[in-house]
């Protein structure tokens, strides 16, 4: 019974949660730890699920909090880049060498641009444009008002648009597909 419920959670939420944590933390190992901790924490407090309207933003909230904890407590005490740099992320699939290199370069650029954003802007952007949460759900996930989320998203978009590397990538990459297009294909 427990295994089945937890398995449903993991099957539905582990991958997006893990990749969300990767984009926030920029580090695979930290993201794995954070997500594991988040799921365990969520599982521990699953009784409080009756008081939340939807499990998805609630789960993202736990993931975000876990990422915050990771950033606040552990990561400042070591050199993240030395342990796990941009090269640490590997493609999940097995594309060709050229595609792999191109995706790696895109990922590096995007991660670098995200890394230049402050955490208060990075988290809403990731939740909005990767996890596809609504502004209301993002507000619930980060514990801020919806207006705050809106202004932060606006500021984050402005900064990302002004990022020269990301701008160049956007100019060059006409072949990038949206997640929806990927799902459709």
């Amino acid at each position: 019974m427990v295994d089945a419920e937890l398995a449903d959670w993991l099957e539905e939420g582990y991958v997006p949660s893990f990749r969300t944590a990767c984009l926030i933390l920029g580090n695979r190992a930290d993201a794995e730890d954070a997500v594991q901790e988040a799921f365990l924490r969520a599982w521990r407090f699953r009784d409080s699920l009756t008081s939340v309207p939807s499990i998805r933003p609630w789960l993202y909230r736990v993931v975000v909090n876990s990422c915050y904890s990771k950033l606040r407590q552990e990561i400042p005490h070591r050199d993240r880049r030395a342990v796990d740099g941009p090269l640490a992320h590997l493609p999940a699939e097995e594309p060709g060498p050229e595609t792999s290199a191109e995706r790696g370069a895109v990922a590096d650029t995007v991660l670098a641009a995200l890394g230049r954003l402050p955490l208060s802007l990075r988290v809403p952007v990731v939740l909005r444009y990767y996890a596809d949460l609504s502004e209301r759900d993002i507000a619930h996930a980060i514990g801020r008002r919806q207006g705050t989320v809106k202004s932060r998203l606006h500021e984050a978009r402005r900064r990302l648009a002004a990022d020269p590397e990301l701008h160049a990538l956007a100019l060059a990459g006409g072949d990038a597909e949206t997640p929806a297009e990927e799902a459709g294909s």
Binding site: M1, V2, D3, L6, A7, L10, E11, Y14, V15, F18, R19, C22, L23, R28, A31, E32, Q36, F39, L40, R41, W43, R44, F45, S48, R61, N65, H89, L90, P91, A92, R103, G104, V106, A107, V110, L111, L114, V125, V126, Y129, Y130, D132, G143, R157, R158, L160, A161, L166, H167, L169, A170, L171, G173, A176, E177, T178, P179, A180, E181, E182
Partner: protein
Amino acid sequence: MTMLDDDRLSALLGQAAEAFEVPAAGPDEIRARARGDGAGGDGADEAPATESGEDEEPVAFRAPGRGRRLVATANRHRILSVAAGLVVALLVAGTIGAVVRARPTPTVTAGLKAPNVAGSGGRALLPVTSTTSPLHAPAATGAPGPLGFEAQGTSGSAGGSTAAGAAPNSPSLPKDSVGQSTKIEQTGTLGLAVARGDLARTMTRLTSLAGAYGGFVASSASQGGSGGAAPYGTITLEVPVDNFSTVLKQAEQYGKTSNVSTKATDVTGQYVDLQARLAALEASRQQYLTILAKATSIGDILSVQEQLDNIQSQIEQLQGQLQVLTSETSYSTLNLTVSERGAPPRPSPLPESGLVQSWHDSVGGFVAGIDGVIRLAGPFLFALLCLAIVAVGGRLLWRRYQRHRL
């Protein structure tokens, strides 16, 4: 934002996210830790799963103990923990200091009832400070006299009586030496601030107050604001011990009390000691008088007379000390300082210009700055400690609230 619209941003983030390989064993590790048998389980937050049946709600985690949560919180907020520890240490040290200081203090609060001392009239205006006069040992009592048989005869009685005041069969101890009622010497100081122009009237009222309660004014002085200084006066009242607290309370109503302190000193031991020494010397004198009556030669008479004179001198000295002590325990001393409020500041006698004045101003400003910093340091530190306590408490409550909301 022409080239980086929302769709393009979503695509880029999705592409970057897919570059991270999802750990295949991640979900299994979580399941294992949730069951409590995971290899990476720390055991602290986990309890063995009790999946004995479908109807039974398994408890995968037990809430961590309060102590463990506290330790974990302290580990997360080290600076705040250290601040909280300092606050607790300061509180403990302050409490211990207050307890230690409060225990052995000899000062007694005002209103202590001193016994009524009979036969203490005719108080002399003597200094009321409790300096102990050096009491000379009665050299004659134990010292061998010039006559051999006289020395032997006096040494026995004199030695016995010197030993004490405490000897039960001491020949002439006063009746109230043993079981002596407590002798308390009480003093107090009171600072009063009165309205401008009320100094003289207040001094008069204080004089009347002392007289109304059977006391008198021991000394009085006033200085009227010459040169712009605030007028002030000092007055010392001597009032019967029974009326001391009443007079003090009455005097406090004559103006705004700026400081008040009282002190009571138990001088019973000193009083009994003086009485015992006096009794011993009286006994010695009687012995010498007996010897004097039996003396036949002029030399013996002169020798005994010399001893008698010596003893008589010591007796009078002790009687004087006893009288002073009796007087001090019959009357309490209240020193009052009366000053006028709101007096104009004293103008500076120095000219307003010149290097000397500038130097004095500079030094004065420096000292005032240091003084101000020291004055502010106490309240600032106190406020800082309070803020630290509030911050730590608020932080813990907030974390707890957040945890419950999850």
